[in-house]
Symmetry: C2
Subunit: 292 residues, 2 copies
């Protein structure tokens, strides 16, 4: 299987590693605007050859794993360059603008809009790992717009990787993902900011913080290069989640003002059922995920 | 060493297990208002004998690990009952009210105010584990108010457990801990609430949430029984941290409104240095900590 990976970082590189394991005869072409990453990917045998879009016409599978602002610019060009029988799969954390961008593209049927809910705190080819996608959810949007035989080829890969497939429309994807991913990132960044600003003497944080704090601010390690365009593309939904989150925080504060500790208790008690919900979330082996 | 553990849950039980390992000849008395927990602790050989406050007069060491609202009621009685040569150590997540409560107690010199920054998501004697405190910070307040020989006995234990000792006054403790622990818990509870409220169909959360979300809402699993009194006792500081956190979230939302994505980028980029800060936090082996 001729495969091109556009963006040979954590996401693309991990796909490449798994594909190589599943189909040792596959040729993996690597395309990346960062020449250092291409070289690293070659050195690590993640890709077989450096390439450019000219190779896409001969590929069975193209995986596009680049920041979503670059994705909306490049995806039409990628489809222009791909063959009649190529399936182009993306891994963007937003789906509405991406799907709109190629809605009228003559090769729309060659594109499968995907969002694999997986990642780690690290980035670049060195962060690529085997089995990153095992047991993880892959959200597929507008599946009906992709040629059936090409859907099948992509699904064969996802099933071989043991991913859980969920179908969703792009609007619903962006709405829900704002709650379970984008808001988490902002809440974490702002928590980090609040503590860093207050604790000018960082030794105090270092000494008093436990793993609970670490867990809550973990996503504040995420890449601003990746996250600014995600938040920008999903601005409307993100603002709505922020409004609701701020409202809930204000309400909690109000309960403290009123010394209504019965309600403070209830607020926490009602949210405890997150335990049951979280039980269903598959964890990445190395635990940390800011790549959603 | 005669040791009494008042509150034989995760915190007290883990101390008991480590003490038994360090000093096999020690006798561990267990005191708990919950008879089931006492029985479990006996069955698990965490404690040697069930006891009541009458035993405290003969004890070298008493560890009090109960919710902070009960702690302020019980601590004076515990000091009343303890011997002239007993050191009473607490593990409360607040320090100011606790220290005030016993400030004038005739046996104030028998008390060492402590806050071990350690825990897991679980509670009760079954959650007690070996080595919970290894490498963790223990904040000691008003050390000068404790008899020197009794400080030494407690420190011998903490050093044997490989804890990092930090001395702090109770006001500073409550102020800083509001940022690195109490605010994290509230931000996590309110994030969980926001998502649960919105996503009435919980399958959507389950399917779309990744380990990033899991990490950010992990503390929303924490016990409301334990956390309501902590927040109540530290209300003033907690409200201040909440004000600053909400202000930062509002500012971020405003930047989105104004489409000022350069500033959105900077907000995240500036907070990325949390990476360096987090490197210094020792992790609990089983990773999850809501017991701070």
């Amino acid at each position: 299987m001729h495969t091109a990976i556009i963006g040979v970082g954590l996401i693309g590189g991990s796909f490449a590693k798994d594909i190589k394991k599943l189909w040792p005869e596959a040729t993996i072409y690597g395309i990346d605007s960062n020449p250092e990453h291409v070289q690293q990917a070659l050195d690590l045998s993640i890709i077989d050859q450096k390439a450019d879009y000219a190779v896409l016409a001969e590929c069975d599978l193209v995986i596009v794993s680049i920041p979503v602002d670059i994705l909306v610019v490049e995806l039409p060009k990628i489809l222009d360059a791909c063959g009649e029988d190529t399936v182009v799969v993306d891994a963007g954390s937003t789906k509405q603008l991406i799907c709109e961008t190629v809605a009228e593209h003559p090769k729309r049927r060659n594109f499968l809009a995907c969002h694999p809910i997986s990642g780690t705190e690290f980035s670049g080819p060195k962060a690529a790992m085997d089995g990153l996608y095992q047991g993880k959810t892959n959200i597929i949007c507008e599946v009906e717009k992709t040629a059936f035989v090409l859907q099948e080829r992509a699904l064969k890969l996802f099933q071989a990787l043991d991913m859980r497939i969920r179908y969703m429309n792009p609007v619903a994807h962006d709405k829900h993902i704002a709650y379970v991913s984008h808001l988490s990132h902002i809440s974490s960044f702002m928590l980090g900011k609040t503590v860093i600003e207050k604790e000018k003497n960082e030794r105090d944080i270092f000494d008093m913080a436990g793993s609970g704090f670490e867990s809550t601010v973990r996503l504040a390690k995420s890449s601003p290069q990746m996250w600014t365009p995600i938040i920008k593309q999903n601005k409307k939904e993100v603002v709505e989640t922020l409004n609701e989150y701020i409202q809930n925080l204000e309400h909690f504060k109000q309960l403290l003002f009123e010394e209504d500790y019965e309600s403070v208790f209830s607020e926490m008690d009602n949210t405890n059922r997150i335990k049951q919900i979280l039980k269903g979330i598959p964890l990445t082996k190395n635990k940390i995920n800011d790549g959603e």
